[in-house]
Symmetry: C2
Subunit: 331 residues, 2 copies
């Protein structure tokens, strides 16, 4: 990839919000503290494992784009990261995942009960942080996002192993479980800056669109990447019988024997060790990765369009480049 | 028990807030609705199972005692019940309980993942309801309570099977996991009515004290009641190796062979089928039930004292009688 490409773009955005991010990291450490030592130990294991911190970066960058200098965006970015961390802790219990960001998952070390309860603790802490900013409107946006996330996760659970799941239902799942928090993260950054409603809405739209793109690419990578580059196990979605777009497309386009394969491995839960490699082959055969990535590109284009209400400047350029990064990281 | 006793007292309180409670029940049904059918199905299974609704009753009664007539107490009582329901769903996963209120637990029917996620959904819904009241102060009280509940649950988990757990740590656990929500439930009812800080504080203190009494009695009943009268399995705490006051007292007062028994069944996790009956006998021998109930009585006395700032009236009389009910239900 040429210099000035999308990896650089993320670095540029990170550099733009570096001071704020340092404050967020300090706030994370301060607010996950507890008299009960298991809480910071478990939460810290996940938080320190080097996630990209995309969601709090979105809050900080949105606030920066809107010219905000006050202290609230630090607390809000921390709240957003706590909500995200809580959902990851609960997701890993729900999916029984063994790896996250290249490390053993918390529930494998501390057990499911502790992961559930520390997730609850972080949810509560995130609302305490929002309360400190004094804005009921901002609380409303993040409470709504939290409810939508949970609904999306339940819908995903209810659709698991069901090959009749439509692309529409799949999109509803990823808009809920992933894009809702991306949207809220950007939106509350703008709200803290008290800019006009059209700018708040634009940043929410931007966040929602890159969130969908991000999840589409994630779901493609599960059939295209090695565990090394993902930090989690490639094939996890497959083994859990999760219905993602690559599977929906490959099944819909498949010949009779291919459909029988998908029925056996996804719906009937009868997987043999060699099936994942066969699934990857069928998905390639039906162009399902390329087309999933193409869908992601159209969301990235929409995300960029949403920013047209803002004047040019370093924050806008960095956010435009971040949108590209959401897809280009696939390569 | 004579007519006019404590069972009647609870009925009287319920009658006092009956119209409000009907509105709360309607709001519960309305707000647990979702496009994802599994959510109202799972949440409704637990909510419709006939809990006593003590916590929302507290919010309504506190608002009534403070002369409040507005609509916010209905939303707040619903929010309080949703937080409680969320913690029950997660608790049953954490404890792997099979029965709750005499019915199969939700996680036994829908599985752990669904119980975790629907709990998250109800948490979020509760914050959405609070946002609608527009009071950041009230949000702060319930966010704080939620964080304290989660901390208490983790502390309980970290203390499980540890016979060196002190009575002080045990009290911290039950103050956090149970009394914090009783306190917040009463407090926010008073806050909605915008009464003076001393009255808000008095109701918080009342709620906290009856919450501790309630949990002490619950922990005593686990060694004294049949599954029939509890609606859950007597002996659940014992089988999970939970350290409750009856065990702490019986172990501390026990002779060498008794301590060896407790060490084997609680810490070493080596229980035989006949051990629960033996545990009940040792707890009786060491007066541990009576003394646990006595501790509860002292909290009930403190709860009643806290209400001295209020003038006499039907709400006050009913709340005084409710305090007694928290202990007398044991008989």
């Amino acid at each position: 990839m040429a210099a000035g490409g999308t990896g650089d773009a993320l670095d540029r955005l990170i550099a733009l919000v570096a001071d704020d991010m340092e404050a967020v990291n300090a706030t994370i450490v301060e607010r996950m503290a507890s008299d009960v030592p298991m809480i910071p130990a478990l939460a810290g294991h996940l938080i320190a494992s080097g996630g990209k911190r995309l969601r709090p970066i979105l809050t900080l960058a949105a606030a920066g784009l809107c010219g905000y200098n006050g202290p609230d965006h630090i607390k809000l970015a921390t709240a957003v990261e706590f909500i995200h961390t809580a959902t990851l802790l609960h997701d890993d219990v729900v999916d029984n995942s063994a790896l996250r960001r290249g490390r053993k998952t918390a529930h494998m070390i501390w057990g499911n009960p502790a992961s559930v309860l520390v997730g609850d603790f972080l949810y509560s802490r995130s609302f305490q942080l929002m309360v400190e900013t004094g804005s009921v409107e901002i609380l409303g946006v993040l409470a709504d996002a939290s409810a939508v996330i949970a609904e999306g996760e339940v819908l995903q659970l209810a659709s698991a192993k069901n090959l009749e799941t439509t692309e529409e239902t799949y999109l509803k799942v990823i808009e809920s479980k992933t894009a809702a928090l991306f949207a809220a993260a950007a939106e509350v950054g703008a709200m803290a800056a008290k800019v006009s409603p059209d700018k708040v809405k634009a940043l929410a739209e931007y966040g929602r669109a890159i969130g969908v793109a991000f999840q589409l690419v994630d779901d493609a990578l599960d059939y295209a990447a090695s565990s090394d580059t993902m930090g989690k196990n490639a094939g996890d979605d497959f083994r859990e019988g999760k219905i993602t777009l690559p599977v929906i497309l490959a099944n819909a386009r498949g010949a009779t024997d291919e459909r029988a394969f998908w029925l056996r491995v996804i719906s009937d839960d009868k997987q043999r060790p060699e099936d994942f490699a066969a699934a990857v082959d069928l998905i390639k055969l039906r162009d399902a990765i390329e087309d999933t990535i193409d869908r992601a590109r159209s969301y990235v284009a929409a995300a960029k369009d949403a920013l047209s209400v803002f004047d040019d400047g370093p924050h806008k350029r960095a956010l435009l480049a971040l949108a590209d990064f959401c897809v280009e990281r696939a390569y």
